[in-house]
């Protein structure tokens, strides 16, 4: 764990960080309700408990730093400023969704905000992030590619391949290992030879360290330093965040494996509650201010949900749109296409 106390951002930014964390929490809770009501299908992976990791990371980056994530990525899109309406509409599979109903919960992208997407194959997006870093160097921009993945993904071979190439070629990338201690239902001690994951990147000559992923300011400070290394010194970095997700792997996981007392122990360190204490202690917000912010966020989530529910379905006639950059007249493919 890093030892130096994290720097305190200006009050306005502190409030914004807290608001975004609150927005993610409330959005995820509402998404769970929509799932239970049968309006969201497929998998729904919630990031409740991981808000500090997400917002601490995004708040340390420049808006044009390409960001990639796993399938647990609603929070990343929200933190990047994607319209909550477009996210909720995507979760409901509607035409107004950010990916026009093609991606769903696991595959959000907002390329206008340099959020290059959520991906469903564990570890599979890490090379994409390396490619975004490659492009930044090729074009001599100051961008830093940041990729968030779990400690489970760190066991995939392709992630080690990426550590090697990043170290070999000094690419401007930050690997962010969000260690929530479970790969679906399997705890780290039954899946990994070592408890810590950051030394794996260190083995490839990448500056690497571990911080408390429940502390948003600690995350923000770590990512600021990692991004500085990548941006100014043009070398890769790796930060491991120790965190915890409160819900099961996805909504279809009843979460019977993890001990109740373990969950309670982590919830006692809830990132929203602890950060609220900091804000109250520093006089940046008072209790009324917190309540007003929560009410405002609830309005946003209500609005997004209503918008999504009222949005039109995707026309079935558009089923084959976007398979290719430009449609072509392909008789063979057309013969096999499902016709409504």
């Amino acid at each position: 764990m890093s030892t130096s106390p994290p720097p305190i951002p200006p009050p306005e930014e502190m409030r914004e960080i807290f608001r975004t964390m609150t927005l993610i929490r409330r959005f995820e809770e509402r998404a769970a309700e929509e799932y239970m009501a049968g309006r969201i299908g497929g998998f729904l992976h919630l990031a409740i408990g991981e808000e500090a990791a997400i917002v601490g990371t995004v708040s340390a980056l420049r808006p044009d730093d390409p960001l990639t994530s796993t399938y647990r990525e609603h929070g990343q899109a929200l933190a990047r400023g994607t319209d909550p309406r477009a996210i909720m509409a995507e979760l409901l599979g509607r035409e107004t969704g950010i990916c026009r109903g093609r991606g769903g919960s696991m595959h959000l992208m907002d390329v206008q905000r340099a959020f290059y997407g959520g991906y469903g194959i564990v570890g599979g997006a890490v090379p994409l992030a390396l490619g975004l870093a490659w492009a930044a160097r090729y074009r001599e921009t100051e961008q830093v590619s940041v990729t968030m993945f779990g400690e489970g993904a760190a066991n995939q071979g392709v992630v080690s391949e990426c550590f090697n190439m990043a170290g070999l070629w000094d690419l401007p990338i930050v690997f962010l290992i969000l260690n929530n201690q479970y790969g679906m239902g399997t705890p780290v001690e039954r899946a990994a030879a070592m408890d810590d994951f950051f030394p794996r990147a260190a083995a490839y000559d990448i500056e690497s360290w571990k911080v408390d992923g429940m502390d948003v300011l600690a995350v923000r400070a770590a990512l600021s330093e990692a991004a500085r290394l990548a941006r100014e010194e043009r070398r890769p970095a790796c930060v491991e965040l120790l965190a915890y997700r409160y819900r099961g792997h996805s909504m279809s996981d009843p979460d019977t494996v993890r001990a109740a007392e373990e969950k309670e122990r982590w919830k006692a360190r809830d990132p929203l509650i602890t950060f609220e204490r900091v804000l109250l202690g520093e006089g940046i917000l008072d209790a009324e201010g917190v309540a007003a912010m929560q009410a405002e966020v609830d309005t946003v989530v209500d609005d997004a949900t209503a918008f999504a529910q009222e949005s039109p379905e995707v026309p079935v006639a558009d089923l084959a749109d976007y398979v290719y950059a430009e449609p072509w007249n392909d008789a063979a493919r057309a013969s096999a296409l499902v016709r409504p």
């Binding site: 994409l128 490659w134 492009a135």
Partner: protein, 333 residues
């Protein structure tokens, strides 16, 4: 140093396409194992490192999944990577990047980003490289929506299809043939692009249509020569791309000849020949005078022993026999 009008090898044709497109577009770069200092396992990239430098001709570690995925990401950012996977056999470890990422990113994110990349790799058997180094995996790539798949059989197409592929905004798989790198033929100049989805008639005929791609075109042409000696005029058609597929040209020919044989170096089950035959049954059923013949490699992992390998891969005699079967004639001895 224009070689227009002069015969060049298939490998030189590919080299010309790479060089011309790199000159034309700064965003084109090459990445692969031993393509720079070593100039490629098949010497396709000869001279390119010296001309374009290490920024644009990149030697990688042996890490196919990693560098293929890296190039998908670079393409998402607007660069135009051309990946060389040393042989198609090694693409299997990169399949997740090709199928789960490259082919799907445009669709599943609602068209927000293009993936303008090329993955070129040679395949095929015939050099006693045995089971793990002799694959023809065309069907695996052609199976996947979101990919475009080219299978050049001549130097001219190797150059023209690759140039089109590099300028295309979608991920394009270019399946070269190890057995064709030394094949010579004329090539077009800098502006010679071969459009996707246009089959070409390699030899006209009236009695039976033979559909073949890549090295199998030459096997089919050898068979057609032998058939001509028996008074049978076979028409040989090369689709050139599986995705998009020019079904119209194939169907027009089959409706005229009323007979068809599909030749494919891959395995028979769920393969290219099976798929093309299905398309031709759907579009030409009422015109057919005989069941469509299929000629494939044997349904076995490729053996090492020379006689076994030759028995396992399609030979002109196999094509002759398949055509004769559609004509209900005995194969002459």
């Amino acid at each position: 140093m224009s070689t227009e009008g002069k015969d060049v090898t298939y490998r030189e044709a590919i080299n010309q396409a790479l060089r011309e497109e790199m000159i034309r577009d700064e965003s084109v770069f090459l990445m692969g194992e031993d393509i720079g200092h070593f100039e490629g396992a098949f010497k396709v990239t000869k001279g390119l490192l010296a001309e374009f430098g290490e920024k644009r001709v990149v030697d990688t570690p042996i890490t196919e999944a990693g560098f293929t995925g890296l190039c998908v990401g670079a393409a998402m950012a607007g660069l135009r990577p051309v990946v060389e996977i040393m042989t198609v056999n090694f693409a299997l470890v990169a399949m997740d990047q090709i199928v789960s990422n490259a082919s799907k990113i445009h669709y599943m994110f609602g068209g927000q980003v293009d993936v303008p990349m090329v993955i070129r790799m040679p395949g095929g058997a015939g050099h006693q490289l045995s089971a793990q180094h002799s694959h023809s995996l065309d069907a695996m790539f052609a199976h996947v929506p979101g990919l475009k798949v080219c299978v050049p059989s001549t130097p001219e197409d190797a150059k023209g299809l690759l140039k089109t592929a590099i300028r295309d905004d979608d991920p394009v798989i270019v399946l070269e043939s190890e057995g064709l790198y030394g094949k010579k033929g004329p090539v077009g100049g800098e502006d010679h692009l071969v459009p996707f989805g246009q089959a070409v008639v390699r030899r006209p005929g009236r009695d039976c249509t033979i559909v073949a791609t890549s090295r199998m075109v030459w096997v089919a042409l050898a068979a057609a020569e032998q058939l001509a000696a028996q008074g049978v005029e076979a028409e040989v058609i090369d689709p050139r791309t599986y995705r998009p597929l020019d079904l119209d040209t194939l169907a027009e020919s089959v409706r005229r000849t009323s007979r068809a044989v599909v030749v494919d170096e891959g395995w028979p089950e769920c393969g290219i020949a099976a798929n093309l035959a299905a398309h031709l049954y759907e579009s030409c059923f009422d015109w057919l005078d005989a069941p469509i013949g299929r000629v494939n490699s044997a349904d076995v992992p490729m053996p090492y022993a020379k006689n076994l390998e030759q028995a396992a891969i399609p030979q002109p005699a196999d094509v002759v026999a398949a055509v004769m079967a559609t004509l209900a004639r005995e194969v002459p001895r």
